[in-house]
Subunit: 403 residues, 2 copies
Amino acid sequence: MADFNLMRELRREAQTKIVLLVIDGLGGLPLSPGGPTELEAARTPNLDRLAAEGTLGQTIPIRPGITPGSGPAHLGLFGYDPLTYVVGRGVLEGAGIGIVVRRGEVAARGNFCTVDSEGKITDRRAGRISSSEAIPLVERLAKVKVPGVETEARHVQEYRFAVVMRGPGLEPDIADTDPQRTGVMPLAARATKPGSQKAAELFNTWIAEARKAIADHPKANALTLRGFSTDPGLPAFPEVYGLRSACIAVYPMYKGLAELVGMSVLKFEGDKPEDEFAALAKAWSDFDFFFIHIKKTDSRGEDGDFAAKSAVIEGVDAALPKLLALGPAVLAITGDHSTPAKLKTHSWHPVPFLLWAPAAVRTDDQKQFGETACAHGGLGTFLATDAMPLMLAHAQRLEKFGA
Amino acid sequence: MADFNLMRELRREAQTKIVLLVIDGLGGLPLSPGGPTELEAARTPNLDRLAAEGTLGQTIPIRPGITPGSGPAHLGLFGYDPLTYVVGRGVLEGAGIGIVVRRGEVAARGNFCTVDSEGKITDRRAGRISSSEAIPLVERLAKVKVPGVETEARHVQEYRFAVVMRGPGLEPDIADTDPQRTGVMPLAARATKPGSQKAAELFNTWIAEARKAIADHPKANALTLRGFSTDPGLPAFPEVYGLRSACIAVYPMYKGLAELVGMSVLKFEGDKPEDEFAALAKAWSDFDFFFIHIKKTDSRGEDGDFAAKSAVIEGVDAALPKLLALGPAVLAITGDHSTPAKLKTHSWHPVPFLLWAPAAVRTDDQKQFGETACAHGGLGTFLATDAMPLMLAHAQRLEKFGA
């Protein structure tokens, strides 16, 4: 992983700008042996030019064979070994909608669900009710009181919400109440360590009151909680690397993650790559490092829609000239993990990585941005946590180690 | 890094000879995207034949993105993780000219410099005065006395010297007195840890007396000290690997480094590759392992002279038949780091690595010794600290691990 003390020792000031463009779930699979992946099937003249002018490689998000969730995968790209720095989904979800979770507070991610007359789950996502339907329900949850602690409940998206509990003696080691299948009742909150007994009991009280408050809804008549967690106390990204750092993302979780590591989360209108690159242009002079997140590749991969995932990549490619016109010193284009349409889910496969840095890159003989080309690239196969030192080096932002 | 306990457990006797030929700063960059590097531009029929008969790979000297100094980079090739085993420049410089620095003694590297009437530095290298001019000045420094301690000052090369202080209660944590720029006065020696206060004060006394002794010289009328350090207590290379080991190098620092890890430093006439290979031939029967160091690739890289760096490589290539005639079991040819002429300085880029070992090598499909070929080589991309176990294995000098 990125050795943070080494980074602190070697980092140096420079006028160079670094852009990390994360195309979520970028890595793919061919539909039949020897065929192209989603990225290889996409028509990407700009990415291919950058590949020819830069160098390629492929990252291992966590360890070989390990499929990452979005949180650990991004932490890895930011240089935090995901096996060392564990951030709970509750904290991530909360941070993404502006809930600050401090040490000693416990956050959880909530799902509305549908239960039958026996209390057994019939739909784990309450028919994916819309945000407009869910918001009034979350307002009811927000009014639930539990003696001795404060609770905060906020809507996230569709059937999802976040809840935080604040008070003395709370620990976050609590198992999910989502049984991950239908036909059974939601589980009780259960402490997995003795110190979390109190918080588990208080969450059970909150759940009971909350269920009363929504029991009359035809679809969202119950709820489950997952990812109980507290502030993991991550070292601050801007401090570790000496970079004024900004996040440009549409989805709450990625903004939350960026906030957790201390990046400034930029506000902007729109949700297309060109909107994100317009936000980049606007903030260009205020920061040294930009993390830009493109979500829809992952969504289309999870849908199993190969062509649609390729089309999202083509959209990013078409918008790229706007980004390049700003003249970054270093542009890294990669994914946080693979989401092959063939598998309809995240996977463990290595992730294509493109490093473009005109002043200092060692070009290789690869001319197209794709999985096979990346496997032959000059950077080789490396851990995602090594991406940050590589970007800093190419931006002339690291001193020599030793004489 | 090389696991020294594992090496001690598995090493075994054999009649095989291993040669590690380090071409300093070997790795380069194309001057324009897709062009050849210095190594690729050089005409190297012998190296290319060895590449075809052997296997290629590329090393990461320290960690991805980290640019190494010469000391850490060589330690890495010898199997010592440079982040664990830190050797100060003062100790290195001293060792290179035969000064033995023991634990509790403090060595520093010295530069003569020129100061104006206000004491401000006008030339950090005293006009790069010749060795013949500098030697009498160092003799004056050698006579400087500081009460309570012994000091030793010895000439290194041109404007450079080494100084060692011996006495009770000395610690080496002292900041450089070289301000790294002109127009300001040399800094005082300043302790960076409380325990080094005494040594810092004694060095300031020495500096004051030393400056009086040389004040009348027109160019070298002052001095700066850098790299205060003591014996790092490195495990002995010959013991760890079970190899009678020799160093063939022209420049003091590399001889010093070899001495520090316990290699025998061979004396010989001349400074050309063929002179070094002649020294190799002479000592062939006395050792199992030879570290041969070629300096001028790095120097020409730092000069920014692409063609001259290529020419040095061609010179090594031309002399190679002399080395090959000795019949080494294993010949590894690599650099300690990259020094691209384009950047005029050391860099973090991976380093070409060629492993030739007729009895045991798995050949790959690469036929030319160059960066792109090495990125495609059968050894892949690996940490420099793994080079020694690879060489030992190919020399049949490691037992099987486990039953």
